[in-house]
Every structure is written in structure tokens, then in C-alpha cells.
Symmetry: C2
């Protein structure tokens, strides 16, 4: 049953997974790269822990609130477009009828072929508005309460991801020693995260795993070289 | 003309604007908050510049490559779903006909009302597949070359945003002095950026401006308090 498969795939790559991926991708990568970069310039773990935790606080708040506002603004955009479609359906039904016909024309359908659908839609304004929201504007109805949940999921995933590369610096006083452990632990975590992410989002897990490790390595390498060059 | 207005709005909030917003939101916020946070713990601008530039390198690479892979994987997902729809249309046309009818049923249309559309679609398999991609799966055809452009736009915007809060630390040797200038300059930049962002994305510009300033302030405040508490 193709329909069932589609539904399943959309479910597994759902909003929560998307938010965890957003938060954890950056949470694992940026604090890791910052700590590795600073290790190229200073040998005191204390300063790296301070910078790392400040970054985790800043990054999780910025991404969490950013996600909150993005979801809020999607919901407001949907509501305002819906009001507008309602108004247009009421006040300029002729223009809206032409828009429905135009949508079908894009798929090679003549006005006669789409006429029964157009006629049926004009008879129930609510369904008509729903149809226009989805098929003219391409907007999906946002889930209520999504903004706050999205913010907490993104921020929490960022913090969880960020603590992994920082943990060795919390334990080992020498940043050079901590760096080696942090690189090992974080590359492993990036590999596992990339694999799981690939599995959930429908990408090939092994390739997703390698790509995630590569991004983390490039970011950390660049940060290390820059910090060493200017220190 | 409602259609023209829709087209215009979709154009102004286009992909490039979206990528600039993604990169610059985080670029202005996270290096700003990190530098402000470290100023709560150390007074040497040199260490803050090192950490700040390492963060800008790490953040821009992580976000740029992340955007690249996201766009690539959208394009691959679209192509693989399209192949699958083609196959389904060829091998199980009966099931696909039922799916088209089911789409219209969701809008209260009977099988007779949607029959002419279904019949017309079955006569041109390409249009049928296009229709299913958009209306069953809700997928938009990705623009070719988008992945690389998206990566460069995001990374460039992150660097451009990140240099604003760091500039005062490059000029002033005392981090405490630089902090005051950085806060002033960055809050102003966040306000202007939020206003322009609101204008382009259709949100109320003044509110968008205030929200952007608020996120930056909260992130920087939290980073400052955490860095001071552990140092």
C-alpha cells in the first residue's frame, strides 16, 4: 500500500525529530569546534570550559528562541492568509474560481475537465478555503502548541549535544590532553548521531554518518587553525 | 489582483532572503553572546578575539555545510519520490487513481465530481506525477544549483554578522571597554536586521526588530552570567 508507506515516512521524519536534528547538529559541532580551536591557543581547560559553556548557553537560547519565533510566525502567517482567502472567497468568488481553474490548467486540464471540482468547491466555502491554502499557497495547517515544544526540543538538544565535547575539559586540567579525548568522543558521537539521523530522515545512514563527521571535523579544524594563527 | 500579490510575496520572502536570515540571525547573536560572556570572565581582548573568530569559523562552516547537505538531501528526496510516483503510476494505476480521488474527498468532493480530473490526469502520466508530487506529497521541485548557493549565502551572512560584535574587541585591548561598544553596536545591528527581516518576510517590522534584539540580549545575558559564575 503506497499510501501507508507515505504516511509512515512522514511520521518518522516528524517535527520532533526535525527539531532534535536542528539542535543537536549545531550543539555537537560548534562547541566542539570552539573548544578544539581554543586548545590551539591556550592550554588552560578552565578558559575553554568558560567559553564552551557560554557558547552552549548562547547557542541554545538563540536557536531555541529562533525556533519559537519561526513557529509562531508560521502560525500567524497561516492564520492571516486564511482570513484573506475567506475574504476573497466571499468578496471575489469569480476571481477565486478562475484561480482554481488555473491551478488545474498547470497540470494540462481544460476548464471543462476541472469544472465539476470547481463547482463542488464553490458550494462549501470552508473546504474551498482549505483547498486554496494547500493547493494555491502550499501552506500546511500548523499544529497548536508547536512553538513552545519546538523551542524546548531545539534548546535541550543543543545543550545535550554541546556537553559531549566539553565533558573532557571539565575533567582534565590540561587542554591539550582534553582535546584528544574530546576529538575522539565527539567524532564518535557525530558518527552515531549522523547514522541515527539518516535512519529517521530517510537518507542512507552510513553516508549521513560520514557527512556529519566530516562537517564537525572541518569546522573544528578551521577553528583550530584560525585560533592558532592569531594567538 | 490577488494572484499577483501572492506571487510578489513569495518572491520577496525568497530562498536567498531566507538563507541570509538564517546565517545572519545566528552570526549576529552567538559570537556576540560568546564575546559578552567571556568579558564576564577575562579582561584580555586577545583571548576573546581568538574565541570569537574560532566560533565564527566553526559556526559559518557548520551552518553553511549543514545548509548544503539539507538542500542536497531535499533534491535527492524529491528525485527519489518522483521516480517512485512514476513507477506507481505505471505499475499500479488503479491505486493511484484511488489516491487522487481520496485527495479530493478530503475537501468534501464526491468520486463523480472529481472523476473528470482523474480521467484527464490518467491520460498524461507526466502531469499526473507532477500533480501527485505537489498535492499528495506536498513536495516542491527544488531549484538546481541551490545547494552550493545556499551554503555560501548562509556562511557569508554568518561571517558578516559575526564580525560586527567582534570588531570592538579587535580595536580595544580592554575587554570591559570593548564590551560596552560591542553591546551598543550589536543591539543596533540586531534592531536594524530584525526590522529589515520583518519587512522581507511579511512580519510587522517593529515587532520583528524588538524580538531580534530581545533574543540577542537574552543569549548574551545568559552567557555573561554563566561565564561569570564559573570563572
Amino acid at each position: 500500500m503506497p499510501t501507508t508507506q507515505h504516511v509512515e515516512r512522514h511520521f518518522t521524519a516528524g517535527d520532533v525529530v526535525r527539531d532534535v536534528v536542528i539542535g543537536m547538529s549545531d550543539g555537537l559541532t560548534v562547541p566542539f569546534a570552539l573548544a578544539a580551536g581554543l586548545s590551539g591557543a591556550v592550554d588552560a581547560s578552565a578558559i575553554i570550559v568558560t567559553a564552551g559553556l557560554a557558547e552552549v548557553a548562547a547557542g541554545s537560547i538563540a536557536m531555541g528562541l529562533g525556533g519559537y519565533l519561526a513557529a509562531k510566525s508560521d502560525a500567524e502567517h497561516y492564520a492571516s492568509e486564511r482570513r484573506r482567502e475567506h475574504q476573497e472567497v466571499r468578496e471575489k468568488p469569480g476571481a477565486e474560481v478562475a484561480e482554481v481553474a488555473a491551478i488545474f490548467q498547470d497540470y494540462g486540464l481544460s476548464a471543462e475537465e476541472s469544472a465539476p471540482v470547481v463547482r463542488a468547491l464553490t458550494q462549501s466555502p470552508d473546504a474551498w478555503v482549505d483547498f486554496m491554502m494547500r493547493f494555491e499557497l502550499g501552506l500546511e495547517k500548523p499544529e497548536p502548541g508547536r512553538a513552545a515544544r519546538s523551542a524546548l526540543t531545539i534548546a535541550g538538544s543543543y545543550v545535550a549535544g554541546g556537553m559531549i565535547p566539553l565533558a573532557p575539559y571539565l575533567v582534565l586540567a590540561s587542554a591539550r590532553q582534553a582535546l584528544g579525548v574530546s576529538v575522539g568522543v565527539t567524532l564518535l558521537a557525530l558518527g552515531v548521531f549522523g547514522y541515527v539521523k539518516g535512519h529517521f530522515t530517510g537518507a542512507r545512514p552510513v553516508r549521513s554518518s560520514l557527512q556529519t563527521v566530516l562537517i564537525g571535523s572541518l569546522a573544528a579544524g578551521a577553528a583550530f587553525l584560525i585560533a592558532r594563527a592569531i594567538s
